[in-house]
Symmetry: C2
Subunit: 224 residues, 2 copies
Amino acid sequence: MDHSADRTTFKRHSSLSTLVAHFFGILAVILMLIWLLHYREGIEYGSDNPLKVLNVHPFLMYCGFLFLVGQAMMMYKTAYASHQVQKMVHGGLHLIGLVLGIVGICAAFRFHDKLNLKNMVSLHSWIGLTTFILLGLQWLLGAFTFLAPQSSSGTRTRMMPSHVLGGRALLYMGIVAALTGLAQRATMLGQSTNAESRLINFTGLAILLFGVSVDFSVALGRYN
Amino acid sequence: MDHSADRTTFKRHSSLSTLVAHFFGILAVILMLIWLLHYREGIEYGSDNPLKVLNVHPFLMYCGFLFLVGQAMMMYKTAYASHQVQKMVHGGLHLIGLVLGIVGICAAFRFHDKLNLKNMVSLHSWIGLTTFILLGLQWLLGAFTFLAPQSSSGTRTRMMPSHVLGGRALLYMGIVAALTGLAQRATMLGQSTNAESRLINFTGLAILLFGVSVDFSVALGRYN
């Protein structure tokens, strides 16, 4: 089999994975909004209702943070622009995601404060905050290595594999954080076979499949 | 930088990741045993105590299934043996893991039956069973493609990228399944800052870091 046929196949599969990622990514956004706005209390950071404040957390952590991180990972290759612009979009979307994520994390703390609950008790909170801090550090390291004009192309080539591997691990850690959060919330609401329970499960599955297809899109894109 | 220096670096980092994976993998086994034997009711499939039956589930799904799957993934490259033996070890360990996993899944169903609880209600159960079935199919496809003497080397080369990508996604999906299960159980037991809660969190973190370092070990090993 000749190598160019290989490359074409990988490229086609990468584009297909990107499409699938968009489908599940947007599906998860829609399902989460139906959950939080229709079945739950709504989303409002400044509300006196602690549950409305709590709902800001899953909304911003997925629809704001994780969704944009996935988009940023794919756009490094797929954005129709010069490589320099692709890099700026990649870093810029991550930065927007991180800022929205900070607000989302504050919402969880604000909810705990309102009910005098302790912070950082659950497995979800441990994994979530660890992942978020590591992604912040990865962003800083990435900006200094790949965007700062001082860094040499040798440094960039040497750092690329660990940037890619680290990014992938952090994507999956983000997925783990999201799904442990959903599992915890669903358990608190009481496991049952009602419509809301199933909606939460489908939201979780969509987030998981978004993560997997982002990984496929990026990995197959790298074979090009 | 010359290419051979690159390869040496990747090889060294792959070995380091394997070592880290062993550390966190075995740490998680120890922490889980302390949890189930000391803080919980113990592990017994045939017990009249439903909770002893339930405890068989996390024990076999991590210490039996997921731990062996991770080992099998790393041993494809690291086992000191001929390539044919490496492949047999890789497939064989997966098979043992799958068999132990079936018993572990049966334990969860047996627990539900004893308490007249419905099966397949939680996000954890949806993700866990999906992952398990897909891994079973991946094993079958892998055996027919890479072990059966009839398949050509062209087929094997063509199938390898999807085998590797699929295997990695299933590893992370297994980690997600394990951690949603732990998060759900911890929530049911009541979130608190006591020793058991922290032990469950550390077990979850160790399982997550095991998964990430298996991914690193395999990915860096492939650059050799």
